[in-house]
């Protein structure tokens, strides 16, 4: 395992006190915007419950829904591809592009293509991919992974963005004005849009009953990428399917409010089929989702709509930063669940990157029981914990199993704790010489 475990990776951000405060505040601000947006919906909790029910129903019928989606999309001229594993997505997309001699691609935000490692694969094929979401473009230029599902560059201050743009886009040294930096990015991206031979997008929701593919952005970048080049490749996980068109508004209302506090995303585009003379391909990816579907304790994680609200509310994420979760998975509570579920050997430690405060479950628009799932994942990865933790828990269980033994050990601990070296963890509470039980016995004797 080459990944740095979360507790150690977290120190990278935490070592910088001011930066941690700033990151925490910036992300918390989005949580507050979400609260305000939720407060404006008179039946918010009912909407959440409805969405949860639709998504759970969708899981129970996922096979039929995905088949319906593929059939209905194909009826409108969408070419459907199946990608059981990440490698299949890379292969399908790479083949589509090389067959057509494509060398320049624009891509709007898709966590799925991050999950499947598409960009490096296409680069190896000699295909230039420009990420067109502003945040994702910034991290792409820096050679970093996104640190948030919705705000990929939330870990960066504007002066850092300014330096990146100065290096890569030729903005003036020292320029950090957000408007001028955004204009520079837009000028650069415009050229990529105009010269791209293909556009790759993700899919926020896919409607089974009519084959509609729904893409939500705030920058319109997915629309330019899908409309200008003659080839549009949409990539989705099987979990993105929803049953009916009538369900769509429920999720659009919840997604934008939960993600950023907006009533709706600035651009919500529904693709039914290719434009005349153009091609629309849909790659439907499994990559471990079916296995998760067969896991009764964890399957609800497949109902996630990738709003990022659990990240924004998570006191751990806000202080450890998105990169502490490792680069191949989503960050935050949902990333910890999916990462530890899919790759227990390399990401099992993420199940412990939570104080189990429960805020993520309450904020989640579809009610994924994230803390309960993290508990389950802790059980499954218990054997891989460090030796001191395993031994410590066994000793503790032995001691606490018998109240008399517990008192004897407690007395001993109270005696020796005074001698412990000063290098013990900061200010651990001092065990008292007289336990409650001893005081209680004395009090009872006194009363008798």
């Amino acid at each position: 395992m080459s990944r740095v475990p979360h507790p150690r990776a977290a120190r990278h951000l935490l070592a910088d006190l001011a930066r941690t405060s700033w990151h925490d505040k910036a992300v918390w601000h989005v949580r507050r915007k979400r609260d305000a947006a939720a407060a404006e919906v008179s039946d918010w909790e009912a909407l959440r419950e409805h969405a949860r029910a639709v998504r759970r129903h969708g899981l129970d019928h996922l096979d039929e829904l995905v088949a319906d989606l593929a059939r209905n999309a194909a009826r409108h001229g969408v070419v459907v591809h199946w990608a059981p594993r990440a490698a299949d997505l890379r292969q399908v997309v790479g083949q589509l592009l090389t067959d057509r001699g494509v060398t320049r691609v624009v891509k709007s935000k898709s966590m799925l293509t991050e999950e499947c490692g598409l960009n490096p694969h296409l680069a190896a094929l000699g295909i230039e991919v420009a990420d067109t979401d502003l945040g994702e473009r910034i991290v792409q230029l820096r050679g970093e992974a996104p640190s948030h599902i919705v705000m990929p560059a939330i870990h960066l201050e504007r002066t850092e963005v300014g330096r990146t743009f100065h290096t890569h886009l030729g903005t003036e040294a020292g320029e950090s004005d957000p408007t001028r930096l955004t204009r520079a990015a837009r000028r650069d991206l415009r050229q990529h849009f105009l010269h791209a031979q293909a556009g790759i997008t993700g899919v926020n929701f896919a409607v089974a009953e009519d084959g509609a593919l729904v893409v939500c952005t705030n920058e319109g970048n997915a629309d330019l990428g899908a409309q200008l080049p003659p080839l549009h490749i949409a990539c989705m996980g099987i979990d993105k399917v929803i049953p009916r068109r009538a369900d769509l508004p429920v999720f659009l209302r919840l997604l934008a409010r939960s993600a950023t506090g907006q009533p709706i995303t600035a651009y919500t585009s529904i693709f039914r089929g290719p434009r005349p003379g153009a091609e629309l391909h849909l790659v439907i990816v499994d990559n471990g989702r079916s296995e998760l579907l067969g896991d009764p304790d964890l399957r609800a994680a497949l109902t996630c709509i990738r709003c990022g609200a659990c990240l924004n509310t998570c006191p751990v994420y806000r202080r450890s930063g998105g990169h502490s979760y490792g680069e191949s998975v989503l960050p935050g509570p949902i990333g910890a669940v999916l990462g530890a579920a899919r790759s227990p050997d390399t990401h099992g430690d993420l199940a412990h990157a939570s104080s189990l405060c429960g805020s993520c479950r309450e904020v989640c628009p579809v009610g994924v029981p994230l803390p309960e799932q993290l508990r389950v994942l802790r059980e499954r990865a218990a054997g891989a914990r460090p030796w001191w933790e395993r031994v410590g828990l066994r000793v503790m269980a032995h001691v606490l199993a018998d109240p008399v033994r517990a008192e004897r050990w407690g007395d001993w601990l109270a005696r020796v704790s005074g001698w412990l070296p000063a290098r013990m963890p900061r200010g651990l509470p001092q065990p008292k010489r007289d336990s409650f039980r001893r005081l209680a016995r004395a009090r009872k004797r006194h009363l008798d």
Binding site: A10, A39, E45, G358, L400, P429, L439, A440
Partner: protein, 249 residues
């Protein structure tokens, strides 16, 4: 009414005064209190949060047996209460299942005062600005108050901790800017993620700048925050706060 007072492992050894205060308060409110000698030392939550429930399967049964003669069990810890109420039956599996399912209802201390006893007034007076720190499990699992995540249409909730604090004349209740942010204790979390846990504790303390007292239904949160406290408000558990109000002239 006979209640059993259950004092969890960490309170027993790290903050016994909290258990004693709970006992005194309950007796002064006219409740008959039983403290069984054979109650298990721990409710089992630390093992379940660490992914090792098999180390704790016998605790629910032992607990149910030692409290079988009381009408209700009261704990000076909302987190342990939530664990017992919601997880003990599952944890017990097939060991003493019948006894565990017949175990008396568990109450968190303030919940018992406010909802169980219907306490609405307290004698004495305390002139203080009191910051309330809701423990996460009390808030989101026991439903002691309304989690800040909830939007319109959430079920009505009562906050027994704020209720009991409000019974004390002279108290001004202050809410932290982030009303229910976690203090970073999280049991095993404070050992496995010490850096994040410490930062959360420091931030939570800082959120209460300017108050005289920080009060919580969860002594575990207070013990965690105390580790990083140099100056600032006193940290006080609910039983201690109520006792000091009862003792006030």
């Amino acid at each position: 009414m006979r209640i059993g007072l259950y004092v969890p492992c960490f309170v027993d050894r790290l903050a016994p005064e909290v258990g004693m205060a709970a006992w005194t308060v309950l007796e002064r409110l006219g409740v008959e209190v039983v403290v069984p000698d054979d109650a298990p030392a721990c409710c089992g939550q630390p093992f379940c949060s660490s992914g090792r429930p098999e180390l704790a399967v016998e605790l629910p049964g032992a607990m149910a047996r030692s409290f079988r003669s009381v009408d209700a069990i009261v704990l000076p810890s909302a987190s342990c209460t939530a664990f017992i109420r919601h997880h003990h039956l599952a944890l017990a599996r097939n060991i003493d299942r019948a006894a565990v399912s017949r175990a008396p209802r568990v109450w968190s201390f303030s919940e018992f005062l406010w909802t169980g006893l219907g306490l609405r007034t307290l004698p004495g007076r305390l002139d203080a600005r009191v910051g309330l720190h809701p423990g996460c499990h009390g808030l989101r699992e026991l439903g002691l108050g309304r989690p800040s995540e909830h939007g319109p249409g959430a079920p009505e909730s009562v906050d027994p901790v704020a209720g009991v604090v409000g019974c004390i004349e002279g108290v001004t209740v202050v809410r932290a800017g982030r009303v229910d942010e976690c203090c970073g204790f999280g049991g095993i979390f404070s050992a496995t993620e010490p850096a994040v846990s410490e930062r959360m504790g420091r931030d939570r303390l800082a959120a209460f700048a300017g108050v005289d007292l920080v009060v919580s239904e969860d002594p575990s949160c207070l013990l965690h925050m105390k580790r990083f406290k140099t100056t600032g408000p006193r940290l006080l558990s609910m039983p201690e706060l109520v006792l000091s109000a009862l003792d006030a002239p």
